[in-house]
């Protein structure tokens, strides 16, 4: 990869240890992806915010980094492990809360906007189409490329961090128009489709696709299905983009048999103790839908609903929060299902969710069983 004189100097440590580290990361990614140069990016969205995912190593790394680092471009951050406003209601050890606070402080000190959300594409105004951004959250990277018209690779936590520090990223993979063309088409053969079907389709597509995949047999997706597709795809593979049209190359069917295989892999229980909604976090539109669906009903079980804080005022003012709380829903802001310490095998055996991404991480990381079903099925079976 060719670097400018200025970039070379930074890599050699002439502008400090932090910039040298950031450029070392960018050069490694550049080598890995066959990039020729670095290009400017306008917005970095960072993962690695939840203490449960980055641990003591990550917490100390960020604390050290924040001593002399300021982000160069607009920088937003992924969910934390908890909601500081309501944490006293949960049994969580003090050490976890302190470490999470330290991580939050480090990011804010470096200039991050405290968004704590995995759906930046839904809560921030988007730059104009074609703008290069650097999104580490996998569902957000896929959504940005496929729906928002932005350009990003499916970044790693450290590559997006390096982009936030330098304002740059290697020009490669999905940043290059010729690689955005899908070379595999998944033919959607399932007749009755809901968001869970699309989540499983995404999980399947992620396993078989390269950088970009075409999905045929489906034309318009509502927001819930679209987010579910992005999250499923981001969980299983390295694919960072989809289009809803026939692509070139190999054609692969996603039929009942393939869907059953995915279900068998992720669904490990026929029922659950707790319902969780929100991986990715639910936005305004989904909360509005949920309030309507729950009209005159109440949950038979505890139901945890994960949202970005950015929508709290709106859903409160519009009365949605009140209606959902009346039905027994419990709102948590700034965090999400994935690896939250609030759900673990000491307090819960099995969890009901409509999220394929949630299911994967609940099982592998939180160690609980999962009962996968669509939102409409959850409302039908788990409310009275």
């Amino acid at each position: 990869m060719e670097l400018t004189k200025e970039e070379e100097a930074a890599l050699d440590g002439k502008h400090g240890e932090t910039l040298a580290l950031a450029y070392r990361v960018l050069v490694a990614i550049g080598e890995a992806t066959g990039s020729e140069k670095l290009i400017p990016i306008e917005w970095a969205h960072l993962s690695g915010v939840n203490y449960n995912t980055i641990g003591d190593a990550g917490e100390q790394f960020l604390s050290h980094l924040s001593k002399d680092t300021k982000f160069k471009v607009k920088t937003t951050v992924n969910p934390m492990g908890l909601d500081f406003d309501t944490i006293s209601k949960y049994e969580l050890n003090e050490q976890f809360i302190q470490k999470q606070q330290s991580i939050k402080d480090s990011y804010e000190k470096m200039g991050a906007i405290p968004s704590f959300s995995c759906i930046p594409y839904e809560i921030f105004e988007l730059p104009k189409k074609g703008t290069h951004v650097s999104f580490a959250e996998s569902n957000a990277a896929i959504y940005a490329n496929s729906v928002s018209g932005l350009k990003t690779n499916k970044e790693g936590a450290f590559s997006a961090l390096a982009s936030a520090i330098t304002g740059k990223s290697p020009r490669s993979d999905l940043r290059d128009d010729k690689n955005r063309k899908p070379n595999v088409t998944i033919q959607m053969k399932i007749k009755n489709k809901d968001e869970l079907t699309y989540g499983m389709l995404g999980y399947f597509a992620g396993k078989v696709a390269g950088n970009s995949v075409a999905i045929s047999g489906t034309t318009n997706l509502d927001k819930r299905s679209c987010k579910s597709l992005c999250a499923g795809m981001g969980t299983s593979g390295r694919c960072g983009m989809f289009t809803l049209e026939e692509g070139e190359g190999e054609k692969i069917d996603f039929d009942d048999k393939e869907m059953q295989n995915v279900r068998d892999e992720l669904n490990t229980s026929e029922s659950g103790d707790v319902i969780t909604l929100g991986s990715p976090q639910l936005g305004l539109e989904e909360i509005s839908d949920l309030a309507v669906m729950l009209h005159g009903k109440s949950f038979r079980k505890r139901c945890m609903i994960f949202c970005p804080r950015a929508i709290k005022k709106q859903i409160t003012d519009l009365g949605y929060a009140k209606e959902i709380e009346r039905a027994g829903g419990e709102f948590l802001y700034d965090c999400c299902i994935c690896l939250t310490p609030l759900i673990n095998k000491d307090n819960v055996d099995s969890v009901i969710t409509n999220s394929v991404k949630g299911a994967y991480y609940l099982r592998t990381s939180n160690g609980v069983d999962v009962n996968l079903k669509s939102l409409s099925q959850i409302v039908r079976e788990e409310t009275k």
Partner: protein, 127 residues
């Protein structure tokens, strides 16, 4: 065998070969280095102090922090050999100073589990 160097370094050790991609965040325990994804061909094995051979990383971008945590907890692989280095693995190795190289498919398939090799990720070869 010639290799493409992504992150520089030198090491010697035994190969641990996987044919499945790795989701570091969900798939590997950052404190022990054990593979905890039941559906993975390395399930129950430790990747610590081995030269880890796998096609590429998948899934969560936070897997890069898992790689860094493994190093911090002294349970990291000595080096990694991939078929295609993904961004999460490359950035995780770069921050953690874990040598990372890429090999072509034919060479990748010739790497045998358990065999002892010497990896020079400066000159770019495996002996």
């Amino acid at each position: 065998m010639n290799v493409q160097v992504i992150v520089k370094g030198k090491t010697k050790g035994a190969l641990l070969v996987s044919r499945n991609p790795i989701n570091f965040l969900g798939g590997i325990d950052k404190k022990t280095g054990l593979v905890r994804d039941e559906n993975h061909d390395l399930f129950g094995k430790s990747i610590a102090n081995k030269i880890l051979v796998f096609p590429f990383g998948v899934g969560s971008s936070v897997g890069a922090y898992t790689i860094y945590s493994l190093k911090y907890n002294k349970r990291a692989p000595l080096a990694m050999i991939c078929l295609k280095a993904d961004i999460t693995t490359a950035s995780g190795c770069a921050i953690s100073n874990i040598p990372l190289v890429v090999v072509p498919k034919r060479d990748y398939e010739s790497l045998k589990d358990g065999s002892k090799v010497s990896l020079d990720a400066i000159k770019g070869n495996i002996l």
